[in-house]
Every structure is written in structure tokens, then in C-alpha cells.
Symmetry: C2
Subunit: 130 residues, 2 copies
């Protein structure tokens, strides 16, 4: 079964922020092609591709299972209500497809490592500048 | 020299989101006490502790070096302009203290691992539910 990973970010009026999300999805493709055969980015609002279109792209590419990954740091209303509500509405259209909504990023154990690593990188670059 | 890590999040009207940030800073304390002796969370706006107060707490605790870590996914105006501008203004008050502003989280290589790990955890939990 073809597995898809759909990154869902909030979407910004600032195109550069949306481009950053698209670029992360692109980089992710090379990073986990063995685990997820199809990877797209999508947005809750303000930017293209919107979530329903992102889901359609995954299904059109042959996904039998779609992991929806909220690219959010906190468990606000968007993560708790808006994203699940949109995904559940789309789910009705594709009865043969499995949908899994993952936790948001701030809930991951790896977040601690990411924080320390980001700080350490800054310190090392600062020392090298001296 | 005592090293401090100051997490800087946006701040939300929703107290639960701010509590999540405070909790991450708390957990981080146990996680990297050898590298950073002092760890606090702070907020750009809408929530206590604000950045200047967070910096003051680090200095009062004896920090000789403060790594300011923007808890943001994208390099928007807050990361590029607002946080550096506030930190630079505070820097003037503490001439003996070294200030390092790290990149935002979305710029880290570890972000890819965090994304895949978050997705995989969701898939495993989904399988176990079946």
C-alpha cells in the first residue's frame, strides 16, 4: 500500500513563510522516501495548496494511507479542531483510504533534542566568528 | 561562566499554549543542565514573562552568556526583526553579558527527523488501536 505524508501548516500572507514549508516537504521527500512514498505540503488557510487539495493530490498519486502531520508548535484551536474537522470531512469522499492525524510538533520527545541542537549550533557559529 | 538558554515564543491569548511553552522550558532544564545552567521561557507579546524580563531573570541568576532561542517555525518578521530588536535593546543594559540569538526551529536539520518521528509515532499508535 502506498503511504502518503501530508504536512499541514497554518499558511501565511507572507509568501516566503509558505515557501519554507513547501521546501521542508521537498527536503523530506529525499529524507524518508522508503517510509512515505508520497509527500506534499498544504495549508489550513491563506495559502495554496489547501488541505482538501493536498489530500486529493495524495489520493490521485495512489495513496492508500495518508498521515496528516500538523506543522504547529502548540495544541491550539487549529490543531485540536480545525485540522481534524477538515480532514474528517474529506475522509467521507475517499472511503478506501486510511487517514491518520499525528500530534503537533511541540508534543514530540525529539523537540527537546531539536532545541538543544539549535542553541548549540548558534553557540558554535558564534565562537567561530570570534 | 554560567550559560543561559532563553526560549522565546510568540505568546498567545490562549493560556494553555503559553503553559505548553513554559512546560517545555521546564523539561529542557532536566535535559541539558550540563550545557545550560539557567533556562527560562519568555514571550514576544500577549503573555508573561516578556523577553526583557526573561533576560533579567537570566542575568539575576548569574548568566555570563545567554542564548536566545526563537521558538518559531518560520522566519517571519518576528524572528527576523522583532526578537533581535528587543534583544539588542536589552543588551545595552548588560555590557558584561554575551548574547547569542540562534536560528528559529524550522531552520534546523533535526526538524526532518522530528517530522518523520512524529508521523511514525502516529502510525504506530494507529496500528496498536486496531
Amino acid at each position: 500500500m502506498m503511504k502518503a505524508l501530508l504536512l499541514v501548516a497554518h499558511g501565511s500572507r507572507r509568501q516566503q513563510s509558505n515557501d519554507e514549508v513547501d521546501k521542508i516537504a521537498e527536503t523530506l521527500k529525499a529524507h524518508c522516501i522508503k517510509e512515505y512514498h508520497i509527500i506534499y505540503s498544504s495549508f489550513l488557510e491563506l495559502a495554496e495548496t489547501l488541505i482538501p487539495d493536498g489530500i486529493k493530490k495524495c489520493v490521485d498519486d495512489g495513496a492508500g494511507s495518508i498521515v496528516v502531520l500538523p506543522y504547529f508548535l502548540n495544541s491550539g484551536r487549529h490543531v485540536v479542531k480545525d485540522v481534524p474537522s477538515i480532514v474528517n470531512a474529506e475522509k467521507e469522499k475517499y472511503p478506501g483510504v486510511e487517514f491518520i492525524i499525528s500530534k503537533h510538533l511541540g508534543a514530540s520527545d525529539l523537540m527537546l533534542d531539536l532545541l538543544v541542537s539549535t542553541a548549540n549550533t548558534a553557540v558554535n557559529e558564534f565562537i567561530q566568528q570570534d
